[in-house]
Amino acid sequence: MAHTLPEHPAKLWRNPEPKRSYDVVIIGGGGHGLATAYYLASEHGIRNIAVLEKGWLAGGNMARNTTIIRSNYLWDESAAIYEHALKLWERWPDELDYDFLFSQRGVLNLAHSLQDVRDSVRRVSANKLNGVDAEWVDPDEVAKICPILNTSHDTRYPVLGATWQPRAGIAKHDHVAWALARRCDQLGVDLVQNCEVTGFLKDGDRVVGVQTERGPIRAGRVGMAAAGYSSVLAEAAGFRLPVQSHPLQALVSELLEPVHPTVVMSNHVHVYVSQAHKGELVLGAGIDAYNSYTQRGSVHTIEHQMAAAIELFPIFASAHVLRTWGGIVDVCPDASPIIGPSPLEGLFVNCGWGTGGFKATPGVGSVFAHTIAMGKAHPLAEPYGLERFTTGALIDEHGAAGVAH
């Protein structure tokens, strides 16, 4: 009946005091920071690394996301990096030797208008040519994949079909973080919690370390993976980033016997939902329009979310909301991330993943580690540099890919 969660390893990490200096300092102990440190240590032979986290490890968006993993993005640049990530996800349970409940149960992205249908077909068509598993499925097939979904014609916005990526799915977010943290720790990386970076040590235009709550720490290179706080750090370093920080909320129900076999996302009606292993329904809400660092959003967003959920899944009506929460997501004008060198030598940025960076965790790790180690953008990261805002070569995932979760 109840799914018993796997037991965690008896040893996860040390709690070291920070050293005076490291070869590489990563700011931010979320999924991205940890994955970057992991690849720096495991693939680039750099072992003298610290990950500095201002709170508790992976307590930012990593602790708050709805864990959807997929790679069916529209543009070539996106498909390339997300598919790279998905392939790594498929390897990670073994590689990290940790059962983090990676479940390739597939993702349906629903189409509710003729334009949704065009956009969906466009994305599926591109996915296929990019080697991403994707299909367009009609309402009958949708109903087969997810029988509790209301696919009748007399709803306000009937389901006209969906894109279906079978290899997509979910994973247990916290466990992923701990799996990475454990590996980092084993590879000698210092994971330092309660250590907020408050400024940068500079030598001219070159960053040579960071100032922290716990004193200065020198570093050969510094990588930023601070998600919602990226602008604050950039400001401390003396440059600006084209990102805005918004609340993004999610919620869970009580534990329920399995009813929902896959992941369903609807851009139009604004729902995305899966049923996690323990049995709780996990639903993401829409992003709040205003900037905020409060880690909570407005409740009308949740109300709207509930109405949409019931419209698509009538059976959810009597389920209960157990807990709501919010994260701080940093959003770029084109809904695509920024990965690459910063205007300052020795400082590299990874930010702007907005509402959809959990799925990219392994991809970011490998690409950002490479970028830091080599001192220049990894080929998959090249299109994601800051220059694109000047040239106009944006990777606009707004229009065509819908919600980016």
């Binding site: 334009q115 599926v124 068509s125 916005y157």
Partner: protein, 948 residues
């Protein structure tokens, strides 16, 4: 056990004149109005609930309110609910209850419920109707303030209801009566505040007596008084999850409030004064109370004396080390508090009432942004600092004792009313009562955990911390050993506090155990995990409110809608609008209907409802200048009475909307927008006018729904227009293309007729006041009948415009397309500046190899390439398994054309204009289909048809 066997013969606040029957797991139980499912179960001798979720351990009822972690039930009918604590469900006639092991089940067809939502405003909101809340509400409403009092119980009185003090209960009854009599006071029982948001915005759920009635309150309060009371906490020892282990105050509730016996032989374990009351009340109810186990070396003398009088032994400086028994508590082993923990005694008992101290209920306070601080004396986190206009009072801030609570509540109430500008006249709450002496509690000796005598904490798997999550000290120890230090990590590693009770009985205990494991003096330095809404679980449907089914999103229709329905139109959702998609006749599918509709427009005459187009009037001397700045082309010099097509870009140079602008007089323009873009364009205009170009003298007003528009299209449209507008000179010379005429139709309706064409054919748009829309439609239908006038929908409109190569914003563009990409260089002014112009010369935007709008003619004339299909080069190998296949663009529009007798498409194609004449390919199903790239115009390239 027999029905009602454990019901006390008298007392309690149940209504013995209202007997009820219900079933628990199919077994019939008897109860009374005023019972909860849990109290009725106890009264019927049911002390065991469903086994635990992961370890299948027997479990019983632990609490008497929403702190309950074990006694979860599913209710089938009457507002079926997948999972609720039995301690909060009122017993009603015929209720079918099933006990649950911590996991609920959803039912497909739950019965309809009576759900409602309401907004409420108040000067003072008081949450909690115990002594504190009652005092606060009374004081706050002495003056003119509007006061709203919420309490989650069916009856006001709070903690008093669990006691037996008649005088205090009378006081509460009187207070409630007084409050209800005051005109500006609203008292809502059975109503739980569950969310506390910015600016004193609170959500609360009000329940009916039955589960199928619920109402969501959305409250804005000027000032809030939180009088939410305190929660008792358990103590962690071996076997503390056995049925028969209960919170001490809950046992009081059962005997005093519900007249139900939770056991027959009891041991009390406590760290503080309050459990003595439980002991005395149990004894008075006939329970044999065998001992009070008090962690303190010197329990207060008066209490000890009272216990002694009641024949209860007090074991001071002792703690319970273990509860034993197979299916429920059979015996309790008691040890010395101080090391070595020598066993003092083992006592036979079927009830172990535990009080590990009290935690003020600070959930809402914390949600509101309030800060907490550890208080060593009370061994609790207390409110320290408010962030909103609020008071927290009484037990909720660690003020215990009736008199102190009343005084605290009163102070909060007076201050709250004052802060709203309604000073309360000073009048005592009721003579006598506030002077009543209540004993002040002496110190407590907190016990978070009673360690086992053997083994390591990581092995103590029977020391339960979170009963619902089946999590133990061993789990916490393991997390700690793995390197975790923060309560937030412990929570996630052990899942403590993540159950439906959100850790009401386990959250702080876990922190206490963690502090103990880490050798810290108190949990103070560790802090709590965060409190989040909802404070109690609330159903999805409650939060959704009315916005479901047909009220999910407004359905917008035009005044002509009844005619479309009569004609059997199939509708398309366009934004919130329902627009006719096509009008299939008997035996036709969409394909046939569209071919017929297209043919009518190209060869005869056809009509469509174009009312959903956005319409904006611009009035003022600078209207022309304003248009010039926003559109890529010029409008300042547009002749009065003339029309011009225009495109707008965002600042980034990407096409954002298009439409036709008419100049009605020197200072008056009116323009159309796309259906979906109407609101956005008005916003856009107003933003520039109000925030950037305040010097411009222009007034923008939406007139979208002032007007209804019927397009009359086709070679014979002039004749139809002539027939409906007898006063109008309709010849090409007198009413040329792109001009506008005001006239009165033959039936008396004033109309503004514009000669524009979105199909390439001779065409008119007849605009009339919205309330004349239907009449105008019918008039055109009548006048056109002789010409075979054919109504057509959006699909035909799309085909007709695509044959002419007119793009649709949002279909042929996607926010990454410039007017140049669309081949509209002719409309992009070189002379003047306009919004977005600068962006067109950015390095990437100026590239020659951008994607450009082109036409496609599939080599097979009957093959329809699906819209959205990606295009690849003629010789590009298709090997996605090996490497991504380079793509050149995609098909944006694709149709069968009646006029061309074949399929055709529009596409955005990399370097498209250069590729005209070349072949591209696209996957269709399992095949690759070839198509020739063409100019994006397929029909009447010369434009000869638009004049008829």
């Amino acid at each position: 056990m027999t029905a009602n066997s454990e019901r006390l013969p008298e007392g309690g606040r149940i209504d013995r004149t209202k007997p009820l029957r219900a079933t628990v797991d199919g077994i019939e139980i008897l109860g009374y109005r005023g019972d909860t499912v849990a109290s009725a179960m106890l009264a019927n001798g049911i002390r065991t609930v469903a086994p635990s979720l992961y370890r299948s351990r027997p479990r019983g009822i632990l609490g008497a309110g929403n702190e309950e972690p074990n006694a979860l039930v599913r209710v089938e009918r009457r507002g079926s609910s997948p999972m609720l604590p039995a301690t909060t469900v009122e017993l009603t006639e015929g209720l079918p209850v099933h006990t649950l092991s911590g996991i609920g089940a959803l039912e497909p067809n739950s019965e309809a419920k009576d759900l409602d939502t309401r907004f409420a405003h108040t000067d003072v909101l008081v949450v909690g109707g115990g002594p504190t809340g009652l005092a606060a509400a009374l004081a706050a409403s002495e003056g003119d303030a509007r006061v709203l009092l919420l309490d989650d119980q069916p009856e006001l009185g709070g903690a008093l209801l669990r006691g037996t003090d008649a005088e205090l209960l009378d006081w509460a009854g009187g207070a409630a009566e007084l409050l209800r009599a005051r005109p500006e006071v609203t008292v809502v029982s059975r109503c739980t505040a569950f969310g506390y948001y910015d600016e004193n915005y609170l959500l609360a759920v009000e329940r009916g007596e039955t589960l199928d009635r619920q109402r969501l309150w959305k409250i804005r309060a000027h000032h809030v008084v939180l009088a939410t009371g305190a929660n008792e906490r358990p103590i962690v020892f071996a076997g503390n999850d056995l049925p028969g282990v209960m919170l001490a105050d809950a046992t009081r509730a059962y005997v005093n409030r519900y007249a139900a016996l939770p056991g027959s032989e009891a041991v009390i374990a406590t760290t503080n004064d309050t459990a003595y009351e439980a002991a005395l009340d149990l004894a008075a109810a006939g329970v044999s109370v065998r001992a009070i186990v008090d962690s303190r070396a010197e329990p207060p003398e008066d209490l000890a004396a009272m216990a002694c009088q009641a024949g209860i032994e007090v074991l001071a400086d002792c703690v319970v080390a273990e509860a034993t028994g197979t299916d429920s508590v059979a015996a309790v082993r008691i040890v010395r508090f101080e090391q070595p923990r020598r066993t003092v005694r083992t006592i036979r008992a079927d009830l172990l009432a535990v009080s590990g101290g009290w935690s003020p209920d600070v959930g809402l306070f914390s949600q509101s942004g309030g800060k907490l601080r550890w208080n060593e004396t009370l061994a609790a986190f207390l409110p320290e600092h408010s962030r909103q206009r609020q008071h927290i009072a009484g037990a909720a801030r660690g003020r215990y004792g009736f008199a102190r609570c009343v005084a605290d509540g009163r102070f909060a109430g007076v201050s709250a009313a004052e802060s709203c500008g309604y000073p309360a006249p000073d009048s005592p709450l009721r003579p006598g009562i506030s002077e009543r002496a209540t004993r002040v509690e002496t110190e407590q000796r907190p016990v978070w955990i009673v360690p086992a005598e053997t083994g390591k904490p990581a092995e103590w798997r029977e020391h339960f911390v979170d009963l619902q999550r089946d999590a133990t000290v061993a789990d916490i120890a393991r997390a700690c050993g793995a390197g975790m230090r923060s309560p937030e990590h412990i929570k996630r590693y052990t899942t403590i506090g993540t159950g439906s009770d959100q850790g009401r009985t386990s959250g702080l205990t876990a922190v206490g155990v963690l502090a103990w494991l880490r050798g810290m003096g108190s949990p103070g330095a560790l802090g709590t995990t965060s409190f989040r809404a909802p404070a109690v679980p609330v159903s999805f449907e409650l939060l959704a409110g009315r916005d479901t089914g047909k009220l999910l999103d407004p359905v917008r229709t035009t005044p002509i809608h009844p005619a479309h329905r009569e004609l059997g139109a199939e509708f398309e959702n366009v934004g919130q609008w329902k627009r006719p998609w096509y009008y299939a006749r008997e035996g036709e599918g969409m394909h046939e209907a569209v071919l017929r509709e297209c043919a009518a427009a190209r060869t005869g005459v056809a009509m469509m409802d174009a009312s959903t187009l956005g319409k904006i009037d611009l009035i003022g001397p600078d209207a022309g200048e304003f248009l010039n700045r926003l559109y890529t082309n010029g409008f300042k010099k547009l002749a009065i009475g003339s029309a011009r097509y225009g495109v707008m870009c965002g600042c980034d140079g990407m096409v954002f909307d298009d439409g036709v602008v008419l100049r009605l007089s020197e200072n008056h323009y009116t323009l159309t927008t796309t259906t979906g873009g109407a609101a956005g364009v008005l916003d856009w205009f107003e933003e520039w006018l109000q925030t950037e170009w305040i010097e411009l003298d222009v007034w923008a007003t939406s007139v979208t729904e002032q007007w209804s528009t019927v397009a009359v299209v086709g070679p014979r449209s002039r004749e139809v227009i002539g027939a409906i507008a007898p006063e109008l000179a309709v010849s090409n010379a007198e009413f040329p293309f792109m001009t506008v005429r005001e006239t009165v139709l033959g039936n008396g309706i004033p109309a503004r007729i514009v000669r524009v064409s979105f199909s390439g054919e001779l065409a008119y748009e007849v605009n009339v006041a919205n309330w004349h829309g239907l009449a105008a439609w019918r008039e055109i239908e009548r006048a056109g009948a002789g010409f075979g006038i054919t109504p057509y929908g959006t699909e035909t409109m799309h085909v007709l415009r695509a044959e002419k190569g007119f793009p649709i914003v949002g279909q042929d563009t996607d926010g990454t397309v410039t007017p140049i990409d669309l081949g509209m260089d002719w409309i992009v002014s070189k002379r003047k500046d306009f919004i977005g112009k600068r962006s067109l010369s950015r390095p990437d935007t100026a590239r020659a190899d951008r994607k450009q709008l082109v036409g496609l003619l599939p080599d097979e004339h009957g093959t329809l390439i699906p819209e959205g299909s990606q295009l690849i080069g003629e010789h590009t190998p298709v090997t996605p398994e090996v490497a991504p296949v380079p793509m050149l663009g995609h098909v944006t529009s694709s149709y069968h054309s009646a006029a061309l007798g074949r399929t055709f498409a529009l596409a955005l194609l990399r370097s498209g204009r250069e590729r005209i004449g070349q072949t591209v390919r696209t996957p269709v199903g399992d095949r690759l289909v070839s198509a020739t790239v063409t100019e994006p115009i397929f029909y009447d390239k010369e434009g000869a048809r638009r004049d008829g």
